[in-house]
Symmetry: C2
């Protein structure tokens, strides 16, 4: 399977172009890819225009390893992403029964009552490009919207930020991880300490400077105070090829800063704890 | 001079693509153009990459009436917008003496001390595309950065939002206004009244509904309470081709809502007044 090093995002929606809403999907995507070590090279926003969609997905597909589209897969007449992308890759559109079944199951109470034009509108959302190069990926049992993937390269997402964010994370972490070159990925260690930020600050400054001097320019050392818990977490980040160097900083922190190594799950729990001082 | 109906914005900067900063220029531009009646059709974000810049400005120039670029015109080595755009249009780059003079005059205290590489870096910002199809537009005496315009179509702006916003407004309102088709522009009337919002609300709802029914779908009626001043302003907006219909709503408001027509300057003053209840 081809490696993923570069990426682009295509945002489809008149409401961004007329200033009605602020696109936040591209910022999320940019940060998320950066953490994964994938280089986002283009953000493109276009309207709900078939020809624009066709040209854009063709061009982006010819240039980048991983392309996502957001928006234009709802039930109204101006949602034309599926049909435009099908045209771009010479694919047919077909009502996708598995999606219909999941939709009916998960939307039971509402779907049952739909008929006529309303039902037709709802079924637009299950009318998908079809072909041997098309996959329909369902992330979990709570979601009937599939991620439609084409050529293992271009993936079609909804525009709603909460859905988009969750689904992009799921796709990359559950399905694409093995295609991201190991040496490009970031790796991060956490060390927690009861020492105050002021006490650890001079050490961190010195460690950061030493990393630069030693030629490890991707190393980033930071600290996160968890005031309510009386704990500070030191974050130690770099590309995974520099893992050994990072471990030497972890060891230093454990030895000299009363540190205890913790995993990202515990750090998340610290972060999510209600903090009485903030 | 050719009319301006469609537009695109090209944002040049690695820091947006790696998620370090949120681009806000495109949202401002989208809203601003919408108010002017110009259709923004593409937002494109690319990195500080010469080939990407060259291809993007050529393509956008072939498709849209009005293109702006933001970013990449600072003094560091990765600021390559001027030179890349010059290449895209087969233009030479030349130190532009008028810009240097203004720069020295306005940055007197700092510029005087610069020499060697630092001076060279500063002069990059005054090294501009040159040609008979190039204009350097200075908006006022407080600003040495020119807006570089090419083919009366593509305009080069700094990325800093405060500067970008001020300069785009200045360019459009002082220089491009006559090229925006009159019938596409929005027109807005204000009527102020001492009646409370609750008293006028049912009238406004009815007027808005009537406008829809009469086929004037672009008409938008709103109200702005100025609590501290005990005044409500009714805003009545549409494309200027529907001016006569708007005037009939103004007349209705004057007659039935104890209204007085006011201009946008007075409405701005009302809005800027310190409001003790907010």
């Amino acid at each position: 399977m081809s490696q993923i090093k570069t990426a682009a995002i295509l945002i489809i929606g008149d409401e961004v172009l007329n200033g009605k809403i602020q696109d936040t999907n591209s910022r999320f995507f940019a940060k998320f890819l950066f953490e994964k070590g994938i280089q986002l090279q283009k953000i493109l926003v276009i309207g709900d225009e078939s020809q624009d969609i066709i040209e854009s997905v063709r061009e982006l597909s010819s240039k980048y390893d991983f392309i996502v589209t957001t928006g234009g897969i709802g039930s109204t007449h101006d949602d034309i992403t599926y049909e435009s992308i099908a045209k771009a890759f010479d694919l047919n559109l077909e009502l996708h029964q598995e999606t219909v079944d999941k939709m009916i199951k998960l939307r039971k109470s509402t779907s049952k009552q739909l008929e006529g034009d309303a039902l037709k509108a709802q079924l637009r959302m299950a009318t998908l490009p079809k072909g041997s190069n098309v996959e329909n990926i369902y992330l979990n049992e709570e979601l009937w919207v599939p991620i439609v993937g084409i050529n293992k390269k271009l993936y079609i997402f909804p525009g709603v930020p909460q859905l988009f964010e969750k689904m992009v994370k799921g796709l990359v972490e559950q399905h694409l991880n093995s295609r991201i070159p190991e040496e490009n990925k970031f790796i991060r260690f956490y060390v927690s300490t009861k020492l105050s930020e002021s006490e650890i600050a001079p050490h961190l400054t010195q460690l950061q400077k030493k990393a630069q001097d030693d030629g490890f320019e991707d190393v980033k050392i930071g600290s996160y105070p968890h005031l309510g818990l009386q704990v500070n977490t030191i974050s130690i980040l770099a590309r995974s090829k520099n893992k050994d160097y990072l471990r030497s900083i972890v060891d230093y922190s454990i030895k000299n800063l009363q540190g205890v190594e913790i995993d990202s799950k515990l750090e998340d729990e610290y972060s999510n704890n209600v903090d009485p001082l903030k």
